[in-house]
């Protein structure tokens, strides 16, 4: 499947008079760029219909098309140095934990000129190769020396290679640090070299891959290493065995200050993208494509789980051949937001033909002018959650997708393209090529499942919507009901704090605001405490703790720690964010269960069909009966809808005072009659037991919750991801729309919520 045009932007939110850049990969000779206000992205003819409104800007027009590609795979690019160019005799060494040693050649350390085939690189990989040193003498003259002993995946080894040009000798050391009985994969070997004269030339030194070429402003490597590398070092001569041991242990200061060219310590500056050389030569480097830091090293003994408590045991970086951070494409279209453009959800619509494969949208939020609000209502676009799901591959990769969905997976052309173009990078729901979990996700690449018109396999029978496109049903409802609203994103919440919310009477969440940094969590809690009013129109919210990188733009981190519904599980000892040092995982395991901030928290999930709510006694109580105004006492609430055919579906939250629900919260209604594909979430299971499905288990329900907060604030939670998909039913004349309107109208008014 070919998509002829794909694109991304340098930001997801932009204020009037600021600029946003679009980077476009186009296989046609030119493409047309238009800008639209997005209203409803759902193509289902049984719904309200697709709606977008073109806007005129100076950037609308036809642009030349060009191909732009993503060079995936992480590595460390070391700063340019004459030391590397002139290196002839040397020792290369490191601790390694290869994850795919049976795959092709993967470079640990390289000092290489591809153009001149000159330099050296130390690798592992390939059948019966083991540790391999490759020497290049120019003009295609290569010599390879391999131990011939395979390495075991996911075991630590110490490896070193020496080369002495004068004696034309090479030595290799492959030392297993495991203790498996009857597996002898340690070896030391010596070889004679035929060629002579590794000339001084411009080389690029790298760790975790071998240099290939420069592509404009990007360094392109090949032979990416899969696995961990710890304490790599280069000496400027062939060290003897004792010296190699001393460098391995960093125990000989005299050696360090004389013959050691570089000794990198990855346990320093773990939060940073900078890599430090502690030899004194300052041959530092930078991460490219964000390999994972804060990972357990060769000497991790299990006594300490927090890298900031014992950084010397966290000197490893885990590299992957499919890591992506910044695609690094060149700018094709620049839009300056018109001064008077109303805040809202917008997109660049890019077309190079009339077929779906010849069209891409890049959504973004237009913010209100800096420091101002232009409405009383704010819609909080959950861009961090979109990033966590960015380009997920579960529909094509995971056998459980059909089990979860209870039907055949439906693919769109974007899914097929992502399947074939793995260089677009995985989501935090995927595993890397080597099976390790994807703990970082970036928005600086085309995110092909964050698009209007997109259907996701997770989205329930019917419109099959999930996340971004599901959220357009909230925008569509606000527009249809003629509410005035602003749009801001998670990044405003994270970077600006509560100030960006304080300007609003009411904040509406998305259908699935799952991922929050501490800064975001604190901002929302403070907003509520100051009298802010939140309508939580979804479920599985405030679930995972994330971190934004303090130095690199557009990337989040999530560690799938010791609980929760997880596409993968962080390895023991790797639960702490490398970006911040915070303990990652569920907010619930950080002492902040979702019930504490929205009154309800994740309790069950299923992805086939949705169900309905029935009213509970609280809904008839005088202080809150206005919420159900116009809804009959026995009326089923939301037994209709585009997402699974009901308002209660996909992921469900429940109130639970033990987990933090306000003791005086009103549980207005609860859902029922879910299928047995709806199962209780795993963090509720201390002992697994039969009867966890929707037909039997009382925990499988969505609770409609309302409670007051300090200073006149309040929270209304629908506790179901499917809720927005029911808003437009019967031309917006339905009880889901009615309840939502009752609450919003009351929340937006001055004065107390409850008289």
């Amino acid at each position: 499947m070919t998509m002829k045009i794909t694109a991304y932007a340098d930001r997801t939110s932009v204020a009037p008079e600021e600029t946003i850049n679009f980077m476009v990969n186009c296989r046609a000779s030119n493409f047309k760029a238009d800008f639209v206000k997005l209203i409803c992205g759902d193509l289902n003819p049984d719904g309200p219909g697709y709606k977008e409104r073109p806007i005129k800007t100076k950037a609308n027009g036809t642009y030349p098309g060009r191909r732009q590609v993503i060079h995936s795979g992480s590595f460390i690019q070391l700063d340019e140095s004459e030391h590397f160019n002139s290196l002839e005799n040397f020792t290369l060494q490191a601790f390694i934990w290869p994850t795919l040693p049976e795959n092709g050649q993967q470079t640990i350390i390289g000092n290489w000129s591809h153009e001149n085939s000159n330099g050296a690189y130390l690798s592992v990989g390939g059948q019966n190769r083991g540790l391999t040193l490759t020497l290049g003498f120019g003009k295609g003259k290569l010599e390879e020396f391999a131990t011939g002993k395979n390495l075991l995946p996911r075991n630590w080894y110490f490896v070193s290679a020496t080369y002495d040009a004068k004696t034309k000798s090479v030595s290799l050391t492959q030392e297993a640090l495991h203790n498996h009985a009857k597996i002898n994969d340690s070896t030391k070997k010596k070889y004679k070299v035929r060629n002579r004269g590794m000339k001084n030339c411009k080389r690029v030194a790298t760790i975790g891959a071998k240099f290939l070429k420069f592509d404009k402003n990007r360094t392109v490597c090949q032979n990416h290493f899969n696995g961990k590398i710890d304490s790599p070092a280069i000496a400027s001569r062939a060290l003897n065995s004792m010296e190699i041991e001393q460098l391995k242990n960093r125990s000989n200061q005299s050696l360090m200050s004389t013959n050691v060219l570089a000794a990198w310590d990855f346990s320093k500056n773990i939060k940073s993208i900078n890599v430090l050389d502690v030899s004194g030569n300052r041959l530092n480097g930078q991460l490219v494509n964000m390999p994972a830091r804060g990972m357990t090293g060769w000497n991790w003994d299990g006594d300490e789980m927090n890298w900031s408590h014992a950084p010397n045991q966290y000197g490893a970086i885990h590299f992957h051949d499919d890591d992506v951070h910044d695609a690094g494409w060149e700018v094709d279209v620049t839009l300056k937001i018109p001064k008077n453009l109303k805040s809202g959800l917008y997109a660049a619509r890019l077309r190079c033909g009339n077929n779906p494969e010849e069209e891409d949208y890049v959504p973004f939020a237009v913010l209100p002018p800096k420091g101002k609000a232009t409405a009383k209502i704010c819609f909080l676009l959950p861009t961090a959650s979109y990033m966590a799901y960015a380009n997920e591959h579960m529909g094509t990769d995971s056998p459980i997708a059909q089990l979860l969905g209870g039907r055949l997976v439906e693919h769109q052309h974007q899914d097929l393209y992502r399947n074939e173009h793995r260089e677009y990078g995985p989501s935090c729901y995927d595993t890397h090529t080597d099976g390790s979990g994807v703990c970082y996700s970036s928005r600086l690449r085309p995110i092909l499942n964050m698009r209007p018109k997109y259907k996701s396999w997770l989205g329930g029978k019917g419109s099959t919507l999930w996340q971004f496109n599901a959220d357009t049903h909230i925008i569509n409802w606000l527009e249809a009901m003629k509410y005035d609203y602003d749009v801001i994103t998670d990044e405003e919440l994270h970077y600006e704090g509560v100030e960006c919310l304080d300007r609003y009477k009411v904040v509406l969440s998305s259908s699935h605001p799952e991922y929050h940094s501490k800064e975001m969590w604190d901002a929302m809690a403070t907003y509520q405490d100051r009298g802010g009013r939140l309508m939580y129109l979804g479920a599985n919210g405030w679930y995972w703790r994330i971190a934004f990188h303090e130095q690199a733009d557009g990337i989040i981190e999530v560690r799938r720690a010791e609980g929760g519904i997880r596409g993968w599980e962080a390895q023991t000892g790797e639960y702490y964010h490398s970006f911040t040092g915070e303990y990652g995982g569920l907010w619930r395991r950080n002492g902040r269960a979702p019930q504490k901030i929205v009154g309800s928290g994740f309790t069950a999930q299923g992805f086939d069909i949705s169900s309905f709510y029935t009213r509970k006694p609280d809904s008839f109580k005088k202080p809150v009966k206005w919420i159900m105004s116009g809804v009959g006492p026995d009326e089923k609430i939301g037994d209709f809808g585009l997402v699974g055919g009901g308002a209660a579906g996909l992921e469900l939250d429940r109130a639970d005072v033990a987990l933090g629900t306000h003791p005086n919260a009103y549980v207005l209604a609860s859902s029922e009659d879910h299928t047995d594909l709806y199962l209780v979430v795993c963090e509720e299971l201390l002992i697994n037991y039969p009867g966890l499905g929707g037909q039997e288990n009382h925990l499988v329900r969505a609770d409609l919750v309302f409670y007051e907060t300090n200073n006149g604030g309040g929270v209304f939670s629908t506790s179901s991801i499917a809720w927005p998909g029911s808003l437009s039913h019967n031309s917006y004349k339905n009880n889901v729309s009615k309840i939502t309107k009752n609450v919003l109208d009351r929340f937006v008014k001055d004065g107390p919520i409850i008289d």
């Binding site: 499947m1 795919l100 990769d397 995971s398 056998p399």
Partner: protein, 134 residues
């Protein structure tokens, strides 16, 4: 990017493993299930139940059968391509190899239920050898 096997490593937790354990990693449904699924007179009721309502509430017996059908590994696993949203689908099969194309098949459906019923019959045939009438 070159295709690569999804079933790559064994020393770690990932969702793929779950069904490989359940189904033993075999390629075909018949191999996975022939010793576990016992044909009985109730089969006719399960077939009728599925045909009437392929997506949604099911009896425990039908659900167990569907779990077998829908949980097979990704190699040559049936799926759908959306041709016209909510109106037209094309049958396809995933490859089980990351990066390798989804194979489009020359069969389209104008309803999701028709697609489910078609694939159910295919999987039933693989399981029991019996050809169900459309």
């Amino acid at each position: 990017m070159a295709a690569r096997a999804l079933k790559r490593s064994t020393n770690y937790n990932q969702s793929l493993k779950i069904t490989y354990i359940v189904f033993g990693g075999s390629k075909k449904v018949a191999k996975n299930t022939e010793n576990k699924f016992v044909s009985s007179p109730n089969d006719r009721e399960l077939i009728a139940e599925f045909k009437q309502n392929p997506i949604g509430h099911h009896s425990p017996e039908l659900q167990r059968l569907l779990n077998k059908f829908r949980g097979v590994p990704m190699e040559d696993k049936f799926c759908l391509l959306v041709i016209k949203p909510n109106r037209l689908w094309q049958l396809a099969k995933t490859s089980g190899m990351a990066g390798k194309q989804v194979q489009k098949l020359p069969k389209t459906f104008t309803s999701q239920s028709d697609a489910e019923w078609y694939v159910f019959r295919k999987r039933w045939k693989s399981l029991t050898g019996e050809t169900l009438k459309p």
